[in-house]
């Protein structure tokens, strides 16, 4: 039985360093190659030694697919390809290909230049790695090799995020990456067709959450920002440069416009202007509304949002600052946080998920005293708010995607074990399919049961269809008989006659002849005629010939009658037939003398010819 194997190297019962190995139809695919924000040691990257202890990965992987540009999905890519060693194809969408190297470079700078780490990938390695990338278009079927094909679907979540359908023969797997089932202010909702994969590998970040309406969350967010500004406070919103940042910018921009607010909104670092450019150039990846109106008004040209300078943080008066990175684990957002943390008038709004180990995670868990580098502690007095704006599917969304794709098995990654357990139960109950949630390094094996594609000779197919009448009833199946020829990789189903011809074989005729005695007072000719008329009456639909030379022929059965030399009442039937004869049973059932039981001769005929 063919099998599909799935092994997470990262994101197994965890969020961070997504990296999932899939073996399908003899092909090995790596899905995502992310880093973990919560660790600064070896655990930062997936454990590639699982694939091979020494040497390069090229021989072990047929391709690598990156779902989107977030670092927990692509942060380990240059390490994997340039330091461990992989020269095969890497697939990602155009926006991901454009944005991913910028975030990687940013990540590298923070790690090497600021934290002074060595033994890390270099700028050149990022460039070399990106040279191996082949861009993917939505819905395009990409032939990785003769057997392996992949196809990307829109995933929402961030610009360029994709789900990917992986197919070898009739076996298939879908990997969702991160996705969002509800459209937001700048992105559309994820969509997939009813592709019925053997396994659907889904993220489950919000496995147990059913989020209230987005409108309420947005209103809440605006209210909190507004109140803080009103009382002269400063609002810090840690974000990643691309993604939620644009969503929240659009939200604040329209709010400022409507309320005619004057407090400045800043966006940190030059990355952002660049980021907005990407959104303008990849506008086809945004939602319907933005795409429709972009000629008149480009939503990514902000009037109220200005570039931030480090010195502004000390300016008096209220302000809103978007700063990177999003989990307060390094960089500008952390610096500003340290500056503003002591004042209770200020506020920090965490708009997305924070992985364990980050300051974001700590303050969200209510920690009010933070140990900083060099034994200093930081008192957190500002207000800490959490608003889930990360564009992940919630439990409802995950169930919705299952309904769309109709998978045969479900596999959860990118979530916390406890929450996964809950969702797993729900999925198994509602859809009656198996749901798996392997931990990192643990392999899930699913056996598949694919149909075998075969080329059937049109003559054979037509012949079988003709038997079903002019309008075949799909509910009434027909039987067909043929010979399957297996040659190299081809499978052909043809009629036996054609098989002989195609294989250059001669036919071997096997015939049988026997004599049967029978009591009948009529003349030889009359006996034969009686047999003929009787056969005709019972074997409807068969051609029965009575030839002038004194033979009756049904299919390949030949019947002759002669009188016994001793007794003219005893007739000798000469029966001859071929091995393949089909009507034999019918023929026997039709013989008139069977109505006289007890005759040993008849008995012989009947029993012997079965």
């Amino acid at each position: 039985m063919p099998e599909i194997k799935v092994t997470p190297l990262g994101a197994g019962q965890d969020v961070g360093r997504s990296c999932i190995l899939v073996s399908i139809g003899g092909k090995n695919i790596m899905l995502d190659c992310g880093m973990h924000m919560g660790y600064n040691d070896d655990r930062r990257f997936p454990d590639f030694s699982y694939i091979t202890q020494n040497g390069r990965l090229t021989d072990f992987l047929d391709c690598v697919i990156i779902s989107h540009f977030h670092l927990d999905h692509c942060g380990a890519l240059p390490y994997m390809s340039e330091m461990v060693g992989y020269d095969g194809p890497i697939y990602m969408t155009h926006p991901t290909k454009a944005i991913c190297p910028i975030l990687l470079e940013d990540f590298r700078k923070i790690t090497v230049d600021k934290k002074g780490e060595t033994n890390f990938f270099t700028s050149q390695m990022i460039k070399d790695c990106m040279k191996k990338v082949i861009p993917l278009n939505l819905h395009q079927t990409v032939q990785v090799d003769d057997e392996l094909e992949i196809k990307a679907y829109y995933a929402g979540h961030v610009l360029g995020a994709a789900m990917v359908h992986i197919k070898v023969g009739s076996e298939s797997v879908v990997y969702t990456g991160d996705y969002n089932m509800t459209p937001d202010r700048h992105l559309g909702a994820a969509w997939i067709d009813k592709c019925r994969p053997d396994i659907l590998i889904s993220e489950s970040t919000y496995a147990t959450t059913i989020r209230d309406s987005k409108r309420c969350r947005e209103r809440d967010f605006l209210k909190k920002v507004h109140e803080s500004i009103e009382r002269g406070g400063k609002v810090l919103i840690p974000v990643f440069a691309l993604g939620r940042a644009q969503e929240l910018c659009i939200l604040l921009e329209t709010f400022w416009e409507r309320m005619n607010l004057k407090a400045p909104i800043y966006f940190s670092t030059g990355l952002t202007e660049k980021a907005n450019h990407y959104y303008k150039l990849f506008i086809t990846w945004t939602n319907q509304k933005i795409r429709k109106t972009f000629v008149q008004r480009n939503m990514f040209e902000f009037k109220h949002i200005k570039a931030f300078d480090r010195s502004y943080a000390d300016n008096p008066g209220p302000m809103v600052v978007f700063a990177t990175p999003g989990m307060l684990h390094a960089g500008q957002s952390l610096q500003i946080f340290k500056k503003w943390a002591g004042n209770e008038k200020n506020m920090v709004i965490m708009p997305g998920y924070c992985v364990q180990g980050t300051i974001g995670h700590k303050i969200l868990n209510g920690q009010r005293k933070l140990e900083m580098e060099g034994r200093a502690t930081l008192d957190v007095k500002l207000q800490v708010e959490y608003m889930s704006f990360s564009a992940h599917a919630d439990a409802k969304g995950i169930m919705q995607l299952i309904r769309m794709a109709e998978p045969r098995n479900m596999l959860l990654v990118h979530g916390e074990a406890v929450k996964m357990e809950f969702l797993k139960g729900k999925i198994e109950q509602e859809f009656s399919i198996d749901c798996y949630m392997p931990a990192n390094g643990e392999t899930t094996t699913v056996t598949t049961n694919p149909s075998v594609p075969v080329d059937i000779s049109l003559n054979l197919l037509k012949r079988e269809m003709a038997l079903g009448g002019p309008l075949p009833d799909p509910k009434k199946p027909r039987t067909m008989h043929g010979t399957l020829i297996m040659k190299e990789n081809s499978l052909k189903l043809v009629s036996s006659e054609q098989a002989l011809k195609e294989l250059g074989l001669n036919e071997h005729q096997l015939r049988f002849t026997c004599h049967v005695q029978l009591q009948d007072p009529h003349s030889d000719a009359d006996t034969l005629h009686r047999i003929y008329t009787h056969l005709k009456s019972v074997l409807k639909g068969y051609t029965i010939q009575h030839l002038p030379d004194g033979t009756v022929i049904v299919e390949s059965i030949v019947i002759k009658v002669s009188s016994s030399t001793e007794d003219s009442n005893t007739k000798v039937l000469l029966l001859s037939w071929s091995y393949q004869v089909k009507t034999w049973t019918l023929f026997l059932e039709g013989l008139p003398m069977q109505s006289k039981p007890g005759s040993s001769a008849n008995h012989l005929v009947i029993e012997s010819l079965f």
Binding site: H94, A98, P135, N137, H139, Q140, T141, K151, K274, H277, Y278, K280, L281, F282, T284, F294, P450, S451, V452, P453, V454, D455, I456, L458, N459, L461, E464, M465, L471, P472, P477, T479, M480, H481, G482, T483, L484, I485, M486, K487, S496, E497, L503, L505, N506, E507, H508, Q509, L510, R511, F512, C514, H515, G541, Q580, K582, T585, E589, L604, I606
Partner: protein, 674 residues
């Protein structure tokens, strides 16, 4: 609902011929219909707009010259169509809203069309005529740039017509008796009764709502029987060729392809390989004009005119080659010292066209894609606009009239010179020999286009830029992809009328291409021999293959055949319930019992020595062997049985049933079963 969409009906249609219908006589604005495996597929929906050359231009502001043209009266004075027909410089024009020559609508019932495949935005302009008011219920497939830019071009066309409404309709001249009397080319215009006015925006929106977007290499299943897939054709943004295939037959539809390096993604040639039939349309209309040379001439004429203080008018479509012209000028302006010359692009869709061109990174050539990664706009016209060198306006009214400075360069439509803002500039600049009109679009004869403006003082330069395949490129391509048969417009099978000696300007192929013309129906030469069928796993596991030659195995298959939605599957025959051993033999059987598997065919030969040895093992020792012409006769004396062994046959003559069965099984051991 057509038969194909009903799915299960497809099976009896296996015998149907595959047909090709031609609905448009214009080889670069094609409209063909393919009946393939009981699916009806329209290939492109081109609108032949050359008919508008027979009409008077529609001026945006009142033109005293045009309104004073004399009406036409036949030479003998018997026919006076002065209201409908006007004479200008010896030619006669219809004075009414211009009309288009539609694809043929009588050749087949358009409501039976299942899908329409669009290859590029120039080849979809007739869509509203086909999808609206014909009972069409199918789906249109196109790429996103094709849809968006196609929509803009339709919008522009409607806008051109609607902003200068002309109440008068002219029909008298279409009367056959009268048309015969008219001077050429009106006299020779064909199917004039089928000509139609432009559609409305409402019809455009309704037609385009039927479009489903596809990406390059996306595989789209049609009713389970056919798969279609667009491939990059290299001609314009989102332009595509199409593969239409089943598991065993492949049709390639090549329409408007280019091998030149311009802005679109390069043409995908390799996917066209192994086609049974290749339908070839949309070759260059200017086989003798080299696009690069034309571009050079365009630039030098433009610079010369401006230096002499004249204006340059470039009648063009609002999308397509204009992007390349602007890019060329971007590099040329500084070196030619034209830095201060204003460039104007005037069209109701100018802004949209320029904006849309910047957002289709996925559909652009590699160089332009790389720019987007930086991130910079892929086309340099963004910079021309930013630096105020290029200005765009929706029309000559409004801002343009106050900001307009001369001498200048104006890009505007429509290239037929019959409607759009270009009409105004013809009236404005035509009288001065300082000005130049440069034709770059190949769709219209420039002499015909200029006819209603004669006499004309302005200079005319003809630099048609047609990047589509020329005959040299296409024969190289065909050698590469090797289709079994080529189907093409008849125009491609003979040299152009004006250059009848140029045998290099036609397709010469072996076997010769199958030509078609408007309204012709071709039988496509498929030799269909196989069909895809799926063996369900349970059955597959139960098959017993036996090797009959090295590397070749066979297995006999008896199975239930299911056909649904054009998909065939085989599954195991369910075990029949055990027959009661009672006397059921008298039953008269009307139908053959379907579940009975027939005996296999046999092959091979029974070797005498080995067979004798086997018989001996089974206790049959008294065998008399007699040699015959074709083999041997074995007489089993004790059993009173004969076995005739020959190369291709065995005959067992035996009256004892158990013995016969034994002998049969012994013989079968020596034979292969198929």
């Amino acid at each position: 609902i057509s038969p194909a969409s009903a799915g299960l009906m497809a099976s009896p249609n296996l015998n149907l011929n595959d047909l090709h219908y031609c609905l448009s006589g214009h080889p670069t604005l094609p409209c063909n219909v393919l009946k393939f495996k009981s699916t009806t597929i329209m290939l492109d929906c081109g609108l032949d707009t050359t008919s508008v050359l027979n009409f008077l231009p529609l001026p945006l502001v009142h033109s005293p010259r045009l309104s004073k043209l004399p009406g036409w009266v036949s030479k003998d004075g018997t026919i006076n169509l002065g209201k409908e027909l006007k004479e200008c410089a010896g030619r006669v024009f219809v004075d009414a809203q211009p009309e288009f020559c539609l694809p043929e609508r009588e050749l087949l019932d358009l409501s039976t069309i299942d899908v329409i495949l669009i290859s590029n935005y120039h080849c979809m302009m007739a869509l509203p005529y086909i999808t609206e008011h014909t009972g069409f219920t199918g789906t249109v497939y196109a790429t996103e740039p094709t849809l968006q830019i196609g929509r803009l071009l339709m919008e522009e066309l409607v806008n051109f017509m609607e902003r200068v409404p002309k109440a008068q309709s002219a029909t008298s001249w279409k009367n056959k008796e009268i048309q015969r009397m008219l001077p050429g080319p009106l006299k020779d215009a064909v199917d004039v009764w089928m000509w139609k006015r432009c559609y409305s925006m409402q019809e455009v929106n309704s037609a385009l709502s039927k479009v489903q977007l596809v990406g390059y290499s996306q595989k789209v299943e049609l009713f389970g029987a056919v798969q279609v897939s667009p491939l990059s054709s290299g001609y314009s943004l989102g332009s595509s060729n199409w593969i239409i295939q089943s598991h065993h037959e492949k049709v390639s539809y090549v329409s408007g392809s280019s091998l030149l390096t311009t802005h679109p993604q390069p043409m995908d040639q390799s996917s066209l390989k192994n086609s049974d039939v290749l339908i070839l349309t949309g070759l260059t209309q200017m086989p003798t004009a080299n696009p690069d040379g034309m571009l050079g001439e365009f630039c030098s004429n433009l610079a010369m005119t401006i230096r002499a203080g004249g204006n340059v008018l470039v009648p063009c479509y609002s999308s397509g080659v204009i992007y390349d012209l602007l890019e060329c000028l971007y590099q040329f302006i500084e070196s030619a010292n034209l830095g201060t010359t204003p460039f104007y692009f005037i069209s109701p869709i100018a802004n949209s066209s320029l904006e849309f061109s910047q957002i289709f990174a996925e559909w652009l050539c590699h160089n332009k894609q790389t720019k987007v990664y930086l991130p910079e706009p892929p086309f340099p016209h963004a910079e021309l606009i930013q630096t105020n060198k290029l200005k765009h306006y929706p029309s000559i009214h409004g801002d343009f009239s106050s900001e307009f400075r001369q001498p200048c360069v104006v890009f505007t439509g429509h290239p037929s010179l019959r409607f759009g803002d270009v009409v105004h500039f013809m009236e404005l600049w035509g009288k001065s020999s300082l000005n130049t009109i440069i034709f770059t679009e190949p769709d219209f004869s420039y002499l015909d286009a200029l006819a209603p403006y004669q006499p004309l003082a302005m200079k005319c330069v003809y630099c048609p830029i047609d990047t589509r395949l020329n005959f040299h490129q296409v024969s190289k391509l065909l050698k590469e992809v090797q289709p079994l048969h080529v189907v093409c417009p008849e125009q491609y099978t003979q040299p152009p009328l004006t250059q009848s000696h140029r045998s290099d300007l036609m397709l010469e192929l072996q076997p010769p291409p199958m030509p078609y013309r408007r309204c012709s129906v071709l039988n496509l030469p498929f030799r269909r021999r196989y069909e895809r069928i799926y063996i369900l796993p349970e059955l597959a596991n139960s098959l017993v293959p036996s090797e009959i030659k090295p590397g070749v195995s066979v297995a006999t298959v008896s199975a239930l055949l299911h056909s649904k939605d054009n998909k065939h599957t085989l599954q195991s025959v369910p075990k029949p319930p055990p027959m009661p051993p009672s006397k059921k033999r008298k039953r008269v059987i009307e139908e053959p019992p379907v579940a009975l598997a027939p005996k296999p065919m046999l092959s091979g030969a029974v070797a005498l020595e080995a067979f004798l040895a086997t018989l001996q093992k089974h206790g049959i020792t008294e065998v008399k062997v007699e040699e015959t012409a074709d083999g041997h006769i074995l007489h089993l004396q004790a059993e009173d049985t004969l076995i005739q062994l020959e190369e291709d046959g065995t005959h067992i003559v035996c009256d004892s049933e158990p013995l016969r069965t034994t002998l049969r099984d012994l013989v079968l051991r020596f034979l292969q079963k198929l």
